[in-house]
Symmetry: C2
Subunit: 337 residues, 2 copies
């Protein structure tokens, strides 16, 4: 017998052009009704251009007419804002007091770890004046959209990404905006991007404790933050500011991550602590949260980031990190996912 469930299953095979995620993943199926072998499917039009809507109409009609028991299929669109369609399990911001401690790297590695465990993941690049996420993932596609919203861009391993750099004519154009405009664009990335259904959305914040972090902490429903730092005293001093800010905003700290812990010399077992001895345990204590990982200063990783190929990265440190992240976020670990 024809059921709503079976219709939805068939719609899960219909990928939205220009993004590559299904109607179900994007939560675009608003209603399915069946009466006398007549099928009615209502889809949300959010962020879909009229050309994409036409294409989807024909495609959904084709697919559903092949289902046993369907004689006629009527596909219609209803306007719904992305904000009302987005269903996001956890929103996690990655913060640091000081710049250059590998905050974007940590956000990317968390996203990567979760995606490899079979989670649906997105990254909202809130570093409006210094975005580095698209470069690390090798993405330069311009996002598509309509008057009602914008579609994220999908990375090679299926991570949804939105960054101001994808919207600029040239990636090195400067965004010379004061706080209110920056805050507004972050809110747009949250409300007007069709993220759809995600297990986790990572938010890559700019360094410091000014407008952008404040906007994110005040207006996004954060499940928690992860704090990135390097062993340099100077950096840990400034990171303590970020810890204090987070605590003042009553947001849970899920964990801390140390970057540039050490340099492994090629052709030797020797490690050099370039920025001094590890501050991992000290910072974990200061933040009242677990140390999720310690990453070395790794020329290979730097090269992958520069080449837009971070998704090829594999290391023992990353494997251990992925487990720690899953535990901190209370996510069941899928082996070999």
């Amino acid at each position: 017998m024809l059921t709503e469930e079976k219709v939805k299953q068939s719609l899960d095979g219909v990928l939205v052009p220009g993004l590559g995620r299904s109607l179900l993943q994007l939560n675009l199926v608003r209603s399915v009704t069946i009466a006398d072998n007549r099928l009615n499917v209502t889809l949300a039009s959010a962020a879909l251009s009229s050309a994409v809507q036409d294409w989807l109409k024909a495609k959904v009609s084709d697919v559903t007419k092949k289902l046993p028991g369907v004689k006629e299929a009527e596909i219609s669109f209803v306007e719904v804002r992305p904000k009302e369609l987005n269903q996001i399990g956890q929103v996690v911001a990655v913060v640091s007091g000081k710049g250059g401690v590998g905050k974007s790297l940590v956000a990317s590695l968390i996203a990567l770890s979760l995606a490899r465990q079979g989670q649906q993941v997105g990254i909202l690049d809130a570093d409006i004046t210094g975005p580095s996420i698209p470069r690390m993932f090798g993405i330069s596609d311009r996002p598509t959209g309509s008057e009602t919203g914008i579609l994220p861009v999908l990375s090679r391993s299926g991570i949804e990404i939105m960054s101001i750099n994808l919207l600029l004519p040239h990636e090195d154009d400067a965004v010379i905006w004061r706080g209110p405009l920056i805050a507004k664009s972050i809110q747009q990335f949250w409300e007007e991007v069709l993220w759809g259904r995600l297990d986790c959305l990572l938010v890559d914040l700019p360094p410091g404790t000014a407008d952008a972090p404040l906007t994110v902490m005040q207006s996004l429903p954060l499940s928690g933050v992860v704090i990135a730092f390097t062993p340099q005293d100077l950096a840990t001093m400034v990171v303590r500011k970020a810890v204090k800010m987070t605590q003042m905003m009553h947001i849970p700290i899920l964990g801390v991550v140390e970057n540039m812990s050490y340099l492994s010399l090629p052709d030797s077992e020797k490690r050099i602590e370039i920025f001094g001895p590890s501050k991992g345990e000290e910072m974990a204590q200061a933040a009242g949260a677990p140390l999720l990982g310690q990453f070395p200063l790794d020329p290979e990783l730097a090269r992958l980031c520069d080449q837009g190929d971070i998704e090829s990265y594999n290391s023992d440190a990353l494997a251990a990190f992925a487990e720690a992240v899953a535990t901190a976020m209370a996510i069941p670990v899928k082996k070999g996912g």
Copy 2:
């Protein structure tokens, strides 16, 4: 014969308590009149507490009465705002698009180079949410002041420093401010701090192209900017944004400085290019300005910065840098200064 010049010479020996720079250096001597062996000295009271004013009155009276030809000395104070007293030769901002590229380090090394060449130098730490200058110079003294202004703090080698961190109860307190407040505090550091007479004031900007850099570029009379970067592609992409911003604001770029160019291995001649091959020439070309220096990732320098002892730093790279900076700023190099 008693001349105004001789009186002023004697006042150059009177140091303002709590700062350690002379009345002349701070431009506090407003007028000196001599008539019938009676001397009148008018001093500006800007940023001086009443206790300091009393002390100076007595001290200046003592000193001038010892001059041949002075029978009576009357010392009075007049209220003048620091803004009207400050006489600053060049204002140079150090910028970067991305954080963590050693921007504060470059600002400090320029200041150090100029001071060693006998210049009077100050550093305005405009990185309000992530200040690192006081830590690098090992300064934690609280600045003193009055209702009309505030005195900077002097480093061991005589560099005037003002930073939000000197005004916070604890150095790791978070400054959770939106752009307008940050802009206001930078303007206060410019207008209400008694810098006095300086050859050069370095402004350490936060990363990015948002409120703080915009405020500095719009409201401070910048002679030019120096741009700091690391060889990582990602960093140079974001630095190009800073170059574009600077060009759009019609501010000359005095030069570019590469940090973390390479790591010199201890006990060997080998260099590791951790962040990839040098981008020095490429960035100099992009900025249309000379490459002023290339600094290695130096664990010894990182240690000195963490210990607040950056003023002890010496290296061949720094010596070459000092000459390049003097040339770029058209300053006569004093050998052994």
